[in-house]
């Protein structure tokens, strides 16, 4: 029997307790005398959160193993405090079959640092036309229940309707990358506004997101299905989701750390590290996203970790790849932006970074309160530590890190996956 005693951790803001972990399960909570001969992890001054769950990660394997592999991405996730990550389907080949999904599951298990849960494509080849084998992916060993064409929008209303209806049979959910391709085409790369006008960058207007979300919540109402909105980026999208939830429509939503903290003003220097889809928005949107995360309109924080090889970023801004790293910095950004500012308490962080994402993705082994009998997936964080981000120290294979040089309040101290320490102070264990 493997056992570990975690002493003195503040359990998501409810007070300091000791946790005894045996065979991957929490077996005792309270004041535990060190009479037994067990390994001890001194967590005095740390906060214990249920292991973080990322609904939105790009691990690039198969296809772009020069940018990230499931192994390197798992390491980045573990040091970032994650115990489960959902790996998006836009790999090469696309995760649109049971076999492809099982392959990702197996590679994740081989890496062994975090539960890698494949997301299935909604449509074959992400082409937006024919449904992928959604049911077979669900029936596979990977038990895929989150489907997304992320990177592209399921923009055909009929296809979206069918997908929503179809996955209801097995409790699946469609995670939509909301971007009307006619309002924001492939060249669109900057929030459409005064700055994009001045910079001469093709605009990506908020309405390209908002109109698709409005349509999708109506489709969810019509079909009685569940829809999840990926990377919400505008205040008006928040308003649509707030309205839909008030109507009882089954909609959930996520926001990225970068949309909670960075603004479109950063594009003024044309540095492609700030090129991301959806684009960074103005401060008014950032403020609305923070408020929506705090009040529960937005359910979860998801990283949209998007590693890219250096040579795919060192192009002219319009030609460079979309996306930025996120797994290793997400907790610190949320801690800094939401907790240190008083917008969210630790129970709130547990909710938006673990409990809600696990529930949305249907992950039975994750997102549990730290109580006796729960799987020992937990993240120990140090609220008083600050981190100054160094992109060179990243465990990701890529360096497209918009947080380089930022000092953030709050740091991940250690991550436990089913009782085993997977990462400690920025290094895998």
């Amino acid at each position: 029997m493997s056992s570990l005693l975690v002493t003195g951790a503040d359990l998501a803001g409810t007070g300091a307790r000791d946790l005894l972990v045996e065979d991957g399960v929490i077996t005792e909570v309270g004041t535990i005398r060190g009479s037994r001969s067990v390994d001890v992890l001194d967590a005095d001054g740390l906060v214990a959160l249920p292991g973080l769950v990322d609904l939105h990660t790009h691990l690039r394997e198969p296809g772009r193993e020069d940018a990230e592999t499931i192994e390197s991405g798992s390491a980045a996730a573990a040091v970032g405090g994650y115990t489960a990550v959902l790996a998006m389907a836009n790999t090469t080949p696309v995760t649109d079959t049971a076999e492809a999904a099982e392959r990702i599951l197996d590679l994740g298990r081989a890496a062994g640092l975090v539960d890698v849960v494949p997301v299935g494509a909604v449509t074959k080849g992400l082409a937006g036309e024919e449904l992928a084998e959604l049911g077979l992916m669900y029936r596979s060993r990977a038990r895929v229940s989150v489907f997304s064409d992320d990177g592209r929008c399921v923009h055909d209303a009929r296809v979206m309707r069918r997908a929503l209806e179809y996955v209801r049979a097995f409790g699946g959910v469609v995670s939509q990358h909301a971007q009307d391709p006619h309002l924001a085409g492939p060249q669109a790369c900057a929030h459409e506004g005064e700055l994009s006008g001045r910079l001469g960058l093709p605009g990506w207007p908020g309405v390209a997101e908002e109109s698709v979300v409005a349509r999708d919540v109506m489709l969810a109402r019509h079909t009685g299905s569940r829809v999840h909105v990926a990377h919400v980026s505008t205040a008006a999208t928040v308003e649509v989701i707030r309205w839909a939830k008030a109507q009882g429509i089954a909609v959930t939503a996520e926001v990225t750390p970068h949309h909670l903290a960075l603004t479109t003003d950063l594009l003024a220097g044309y540095d492609p590290v700030y090129k991301v889809n959806p684009p960074l928005r103005p401060q008014e949107d950032v403020d609305a996203l923070r408020a929506a995360l705090a009040d529960g309109t937005i359910d979860a924080v998801a990283t949209d970790h998007a590693p890219h090889a250096r040579h795919d970023k060192e192009h002219a801004f319009v030609d460079a790849a979309f996306g930025m790293l996120g797994l290793e910095t997400a907790f610190s950004v949320v801690s800094d932006v939401m907790v240190a500012s008083g917008r969210l308490d630790w129970a709130g962080v547990a909710r938006v970074m673990s409990v809600n994402p696990a529930r949305i993705a249907g992950l039975a082994g994750h997102g549990h309160d730290l109580v006796v009998g729960a799987p020992a997936n937990l993240t120990l964080v140090d609220p008083s530590a600050t981190v100054t981000v160094d992109r060179g120290a990243s465990l990701s294979l890529s360096r497209n890190n918009p947080w380089h040089g930022h000092t953030l309040r709050g740091a991940v101290h250690a991550t436990l996956l089913r009782g085993r320490v997977t990462a400690r102070k920025g290094a895998v264990a």
Partner: protein, 327 residues
């Protein structure tokens, strides 16, 4: 001539690069235009070459075809005795393996003093300037800026109209996709001119209202209302691809609303006989500008081309000549 130029270190434009028209304050614009006037005189001589940039290498790195601008820079460099090399950059698509940075570093590694960059992507020259030691001149970046065009436009207008302070310039046409308008706005405002942008709402850049309020220029959808009040009207080319892009219904309707037609030429002349007409070229005769207007006495179209060489000589001089003198 050369003695005169080398006696101007105090007014020489001292920045390393010319990436945006906003890089230049009024004094620097005036210095460049004054030097351009001297260069323009040289153009009228039988022997046009000055020794100023002898031994310096200027590379025209054009990722986008532009015979007009490239030739203008090439002649400018050659008349200053620089070694000028033209390189056509291949497409900038990410699918081609080599990044923009790779391409530019390869060229810069050959020992280049100035890189004149033309690229279909906004910001390209700005990015390049962060990767190389050479001086970078933006010869047009996507929909962003074209600072030497704005300088030559100002130079040309100034020769006809005198000081542009308080003069009213209307810029008409496809503002959204135009790098010319962004640079002209800045340079004309720097020189104290009043600027009105005229276009249908679909061809106005996003956020233009806030931009106009912040920078102090006017906007109009009504060309006829603006026309009688201007000292200069600058017509922008309407790209063919815009016609199928739903920006306006038909070319005919565009011309009726926003073209410098024969009737508008008459209205302009009636209101202000000294008003001038500019067009950065190439023109779509019959679409945004009637042949009568393009060829009218008030038209500065060919003067603009002629000024282009002088202004680019001046820009290269201001960027490079100081170093040559110190070396």
């Amino acid at each position: 001539m050369t003695a005169t130029l080398s006696e101007q270190p105090a007014t020489r434009h001292t920045r390393r690069h010319l990436l945006s028209s906003a890089d230049l304050d009024r004094e620097q614009v005036r210095a460049i235009l004054d030097t351009a006037a001297e260069m323009h005189e040289v153009q009228r001589r039988d022997v046009k070459k000055l020794p100023t940039l002898r031994g310096r290498t200027v590379v025209n790195l054009f990722f986008e075809d532009s015979t007009r601008t490239r030739s203008s820079f090439e002649i400018a460099g050659k008349w200053l005795s620089a070694d000028v090399i033209n390189i056509s950059g291949k497409g900038s698509s990410t699918s081609k393996g080599e990044s923009l940075r790779d391409t530019v570093l390869t060229v810069a590694a050959m020992g280049v003093d100035a890189l004149v960059i033309r690229h279909s992507a906004s910001g390209a020259a700005h990015q390049v300037s962060q990767w190389v030691d050479a001086h970078v001149v933006n010869a047009g970046d996507g929909m962003h800026e074209h600072p030497t065009q704005a300088l030559l436009d100002a130079y040309t207008m100034q020769r006809r109209l005198g000081d542009l302070e308080g003069r009213h310039v209307a810029i008409v046409g496809d503002l959204t996709h135009s790098r010319v308008v962004r640079s002209n706005l800045i340079t004309l405002r720097t020189l104290g001119a009043k600027v009105t942008l005229v276009a249908p709402p679909t061809l106005m850049p996003s956020g233009i209202g806030a931009w106009a309020a912040a920078d102090g220029f006017e906007l109009s959808n009504d060309f006829d209302a603006v026309l009688p009040t201007v000292d200069a009207v600058m017509m922008l080319r309407v790209q063919r691809e815009r016609m199928s892009g739903g920006f306006f219904p038909t070319p005919r309707e565009y011309t009726v609303g926003y073209g410098l037609t024969r009737a508008r030429l008459d209205a302009l002349t009636d209101a202000n006989p000294d008003a001038v007409i500019c067009h950065p070229g190439p023109m779509n005769r019959g679409l945004e500008i009637a042949a009568d207007a393009a060829d009218a006495a008030q038209s500065l179209v060919l003067d603009q081309v002629s000024a282009g060489v002088a202004v680019r000589m001046s820009v290269l001089y201001h960027l490079l000549a100081g170093e040559a003198a110190q070396a």
